[in-house]
């Protein structure tokens, strides 16, 4: 009798625990993504929005897009989206990293932030510091193979960790391919993401210093970089390697490649973690292995060169070539060349 009572008690407890557990797992009905610029930039904003929509469709949930919010205070928009019932707010800009965790604490809605690996908070805040450093390494190998001047340039509109790791990966790739190649590095300005004129001005200076391939990282400013490449009065045809998105549709013949990011696996993993109550316990990554990072093939790349690059890709995936991410700006700069260096 006693055993039966105990058994029944244990069963009841197990049932209650199971019910409580299932009540904790979130019922994800809608997610929202907030971006500083419109989702038509062939880059960071567009890839983020497209990926959120794709991940939402895959999971059968509604996706609300709040785009073109600028780099100012997004708290009112986040509060509104939380009030409208979003289960997850993806704050798709490093400029939102302060506001988003505050809103998570205030509203109880989970948020995703970028470039803050230490900002994790179980059930509340997750980070996706994405790094395409493996793809950037391949882009560096490609640039060194195709540069005629032996000098390539990196132009960036800021120094967030994701871009630092790509700048470093690119420089490592260039040096691995051609040790005596010069890698010139210039930042347009503090958070000059929309500074197209600055992008053009700085890129023109880097080209004048001898670079014939530009690895450009910027949102709106990358169009200024592209304009500088297209209108350059240089001895060799100047080529452009983009990041995150695919600008093939608007290319005038100067787009050499792009380190393309696919964020669908990242957002899908976030939704899955929300459902399984493990959200905020880990950072999310992208890599060559699952094609969430890939190098874009354009008509400017000869087939034999592409074959060599793909062989290198296999080596990176297998671990034969190790490309470690470098997130600190000072370490990135240490990898760069100076225009004042004599030719080796």
């Amino acid at each position: 009798m006693k055993w039966n009572t105990l058994s029944a008690g244990l069963s009841a407890t197990a049932l209650v625990l199971a019910l409580v557990g299932s009540a904790h797992a979130k019922d994800v009905k809608s997610i929202a993504i907030l971006t500083p610029e419109q989702g038509t930039d062939f880059g960071w904003n567009q890839q983020g929005i497209d990926a959120a929509k794709a991940a939402g469709e895959k999971a059968g949930i509604k996706v609300v897009v709040a785009e073109g919010l600028g780099y100012g205070d997004v708290r009112p928009t986040m509060r509104e989206l939380a009030k409208d019932g979003a289960t997850l707010l993806i704050a798709h800009a490093s400029g939102y990293n302060t506001a988003a965790p505050e809103i998570a604490a205030e509203t109880g809605v989970a948020v995703a932030i970028v470039d803050t690996p230490k900002g994790l908070k179980a059930g509340s805040v997750a980070d996706y510091t994405l790094s395409g450093h493996e793809g950037a390494y391949l882009a560096g190998r490609l640039a060194a193979k195709m540069s005629k001047s032996g000098t390539v340039g990196i132009v960036v509109s800021g120094e967030p960790p994701s871009w630092n790791s790509q700048s470093a990966g690119f420089a490592q790739g260039v040096k691995a391919e051609k040790a005596d190649a010069k890698v010139l590095y210039a930042v347009i300005g503090p958070a000059a993401y929309a500074d197209a004129a600055g992008g053009k001005r700085v890129t023109e200076a880097v080209i004048a210093a001898g670079a014939d391939i530009i690895f450009g990282q910027g949102n709106g400013s990358s169009f200024g970089m592209l304009e500088a490449v297209e209108t350059a009065k240089a001895a060799n045809k100047v080529m452009f390697i983009d990041v995150i998105g695919d600008k093939s549709k608007i290319d005038k013949g100067n787009l050499l490649s792009s380190v393309v990011w696919n964020m669908v696996p990242v957002y899908s993993a976030m939704i899955a973690d929300l459902k399984s109550d493990t959200y905020g316990t880990k950072s999310y990554k992208i890599s060559l292995a699952d094609d969430s990072v890939r190098l874009l093939k354009t008509p400017q790349i000869a087939d034999d060169v592409w074959k060599q690059i793909m062989a290198l890709r296999d080596d990176v995936i297998s671990g034969k070539i190790k490309v470690e991410p470098v997130f600190e700006a000072a370490q990135v700069r240490a990898l760069m060349s100076s225009v004042t260096e004599p030719p080796k």
């Binding site: 300005g189 004129a197 001005r201 004048a208 001898g210 709106g220 608007i250 225009v339």
Partner: protein, 311 residues
């Protein structure tokens, strides 16, 4: 240092400084007239954006960069109209309206860009230049200063033209009076509101031209938020210039030069954090403020609405 002293590199740096300085010069000259007349025009950033959008749209549609500049000037002037109605005529707070205009134009031009350009991102071809004989042959200085689009020369010529306007014409006197002693100007029979209206519309024209130059020559493309605070720097330059057009030119070129220097330091691999290097233009402005700020003489009635008969 051999690499740093290459002629093409130094030419690109100097040319970049001029290209970066021209929008600031135009914005600063426009703001200067507005401030002389007693109107603090914080909406100049919005006027630049309006000019950038209208100028680029016209240039890319018509294929004429000159029509683009004309449209840019008109676009900037159009944005200045609400400033005239609300601040000059209705006497509302100039700072509040100016900020409102800037925010409004940021949103409006971003939407227009989204609708018109965001799928194709059209870009202009390289602008043709007009080399000035002999001068354009000077190494480094020649290509950077004397082998430019004619608009650049016109922008520089505006400086002496405005200096003459301020010092040698009745209108220049009216402007100063509208900013310093509007009631006294009114007593002489000159319409203070009309004088301030002309000044604010002129500010819009100049800011619009600056924006059009930024989009059509500086970037070759229009993207949202592309003025990136240039209008506000123009306000600072106008305040520091103490009413002198030549000082606006000096300030604009110092700022543009500092921007180019930041690029030069980075490419030269100067072992200083990029953040520190990039502070240079702003730090220079702050130093100038500290050194010359005390001597800055702003119009007595700056920012104050004029109401006839009110003390």
């Amino acid at each position: 240092m051999e690499g740093l002293l290459q002629v093409p590199f130094l030419t690109a740096l100097l040319a970049g400084a001029v290209t970066a300085g021209i929008p600031l010069l135009l914005a600063g000259l426009g703001e200067q007239m507005s401030e002389k007349a007693g109107v603090l025009n914080v909406g100049i950033e919005g006027m630049m954006l309006g000019g950038a959008y209208a100028g680029f749209l016209t240039a890319i549609s018509s294929g004429s960069i000159w029509l683009g500049f004309l449209a840019g000037a008109c676009g900037g002037a159009l944005v200045a109209v609400p400033m005239v109605i609300l601040c000059v005529q209705r006497g509302l707070n100039q700072i509040v309206i100016g900020i409102g205009l800037t925010l409004g134009l940021e949103g409006l031009t971003a939407i227009l860009h989204h609708v018109q350009f965001s799928r194709t991102y059209p870009r202009l071809a390289r602008v043709e230049t007009l080399p000035i004989p002999l001068l354009s042959d000077i190494p480094i200085l020649g290509p950077a200063l004397f082998d430019r689009h004619p608009f650049v020369y016109l922008a520089f010529l505006l400086v002496p033209a405005l200096a003459i306007l301020y010092r040698g014409t009745n209108f220049g006197l009216w402007l100063r009076a509208a900013g310093d002693r509007p009631a006294a100007l009114d007593v002489t029979g000159i319409d203070v509101i009309a004088t301030r209206t002309v000044a604010v519309i002129f500010t819009g024209l100049m800011a619009g031209l600056g924006g059009a130059f930024l989009a059509n020559v500086g970037a070759g493309i229009f993207v949202p938020f592309m003025t990136h605070g240039d209008g506000f720097i123009g306000v600072v330059l106008a305040m520091l210039a103490r009413g002198r057009a030549a000082s606006v030119l000096a300030g604009a070129m110092i700022f543009g030069g500092c921007l180019s220097l930041t690029t030069a330091f980075q490419i030269a691999g100067v072992n200083v954090p990029t953040d520190v290097i990039q502070m240079l233009p702003f730090a220079t402005v702050m130093v100038v403020l500290i050194v010359f700020g005390r001597q800055a003489s702003l119009p007595v009635a700056l920012g104050l609405p004029y109401v006839r008969g009110e003390r």
